[in-house]
């Protein structure tokens, strides 16, 4: 029974399986290459024809006349995103601190499940509720049409809460116990410890949470398009209607053709580049944070 040599038949089976598994892993790389290729091939021509500065900063969007300036939409995206973050980030951070440091165990877990649920609700449902509740409220109590930057900020803020809460909470929970215990042992109160030791230690994770939240906000389409009124001019105030880059695409893809359609792809391309760069930066920051914050 000299079975030290041979066994080749089993070998072929193994090799085939290994190759098949390799292909499924390599597929990720292939997919992202194809996505990049097609988005750019459709989006680059008009982008270059109009000129990058003109495309990005010109606030004149008149596709029927061949004028493609998404400046108003860029401002729109930024306005809605930043207004959303102004209220959502502090609330999200406070909730994260609450869940990680203050709430009793089971309440923290319960809250965690609720946040998960919040994260799972489809964006169209948020948009729908925003349309029927937030928009009329603004119209009656604050003026304007109701469909506004403010409406978008409220709805979007709710949608990015789970991202901010979850990642911040993970960062806070990752702070080594020794830091907390050391501070308390010196006579600091729990809150002083949170403010002066824990939050600074979790800094890079919290920044990651905020940046990822921003990425999500900028990329959000459905909820925003349903409550912001979609006028393609720069919003004059927070109560004015606005159109974001994402809304622009979903509204006009249905009937755009030729250069018009290509311009929408260019918008998508700009979003794509922005998000990819954002994610790469976040990756760097997260890694640097790991090296500094953990042993």
């Amino acid at each position: 029974m000299n079975r030290l040599y041979g066994g080749a038949e089993a070998r072929y089976n193994e090799i085939f399986i290994e190759k098949a598994l390799f292909v499924s892993a390599a597929l990720f790389i292939i997919i992202i290459a194809i996505i990049t290729l097609f988005i750019f091939s459709k989006g680059l021509p008009v982008f270059l024809k109009v000129g990058w500065a003109d495309f990005l900063f010109n606030t004149d969007w008149r596709p029927t006349k061949g004028i493609f300036g998404i400046g108003a939409m860029v401002v729109g995206s930024l306005a809605v995103t930043l207004s959303a973050m102004i209220w959502s980030v502090p609330l999200g951070l406070a909730t994260a601190v609450f869940m990680a440091e203050i709430a009793p165990r089971h309440i923290g877990q319960l809250l965690g499940s609720l946040v998960e649920l919040l994260a799972g609700i489809p964006s169209v449902v948020y948009g729908f509720v925003g349309l029927l509740v937030v928009v009329p409220f603004i119209r009656e109590h604050m003026g304007g049409n109701g469909m506004s930057v403010l409406a978008g900020a409220i709805v979007l803020g709710i949608m990015i809460l789970p991202t901010v809460v979850n990642i911040s909470r993970d960062a806070i929970q990752a702070v080594p116990r020794e830091y907390t215990e050391g501070s308390l042992a010196l006579g600091a109160s729990h809150y002083q410890t949170i403010a002066k030791v824990i939050i600074p230690a979790a800094r890079s994770g919290i920044i990651t949470a905020v940046v990822l939240g921003m990425g999500r906000a900028i990329g959000e389409t459905m909820a925003v398009v349903m409550v912001t009124g979609n006028s393609s001019i720069v919003p004059a105030s927070i109560l004015a209607p606005v159109r974001t880059m994402t809304s622009n695409i979903v509204l006009e893809m249905g009937y755009a053709s030729g250069d018009h359609q290509a311009a929408l792809f260019s918008t998508g391309m700009v979003l794509f580049i922005f998000i990819v760069v954002l994610n790469l930066i976040v990756n760097r920051v997260a890694k640097a944070g790991d090296i500094n914050g953990k042993k």
Binding site: F38, F98, I102, L117, I121, V124, V125, G219
Partner: protein, 281 residues
Amino acid sequence: MTSMARNRWQDRIITAAFWSAGIIIVAILAGIIGYVAFKGISSISLDFILEPPRRAGRAGGISTTIVSTVYLTALSLLLAVPVGVGSSIYLQEYTPNHSKFARLVNLTAETLSGIPSIVFGLFGFVFFVIFLDLGWSILSGSLTLAIMILPTITRTAQEAILAVAQEYRENSLALGATRWQTVSRVILPAAMPGIVTGIILSIGRAVGETAAIILTAGSSLGMPLAPTDPARTMSVHLYIMAMEGISTERAFGTALLLVILIIIINFLANLSLKRFSQAVR
């Protein structure tokens, strides 16, 4: 000592502030779900679920959209799960730990997970609908959706496989098992609960996805039969009804069904997660 008393007072305010944060979150969630439930419950009936939409959604039920949603989700899972699980097996079991290939694949998976759905919609449109000439169809939609849920599936599968004790591998290989035998007979079964959790989470994402579906599966209200048929999912239906002011009651009914679906999916995912933590002792 007055400073101690003041401190206690300050402390109480801060505590109250933090508790309010938690309460606000609960209020928001309860508000949204409560509102949708309250307004939508009257629309939900057996007819609503079983009858197709008539007059562009002004009358009838939403049966075709329910079927479309299930069809689309099922097909994208069929496409994404083998690739997602297969790649995590490869990365965890067949390559050394921090190989360049593994890092590259993980980086691309992370990048994919950050791309906005509308960009996926654009890609799906230009690649599947136009370039591969699949037209607006369940197929185009599923392929696009499959790409979107791949990162989640592969990430959770990798974590699940990683958590399976190293000893099982050693023992199995020491008995003369091949790598694939070890993976298929010991590691995968042990990692299954974690993998299933990831799949359930992806179902949630697929059900709620709208932007990418509109641009790839179309918005036809017919009952889809072949994968080459166009389809309108529940999310897309809700969007169109809301934007064009068609039948608020039916919109609420659709919204409520979506929310109930998500709650069930979340519940199942939590159950599955608990089974996973038990298995990994």
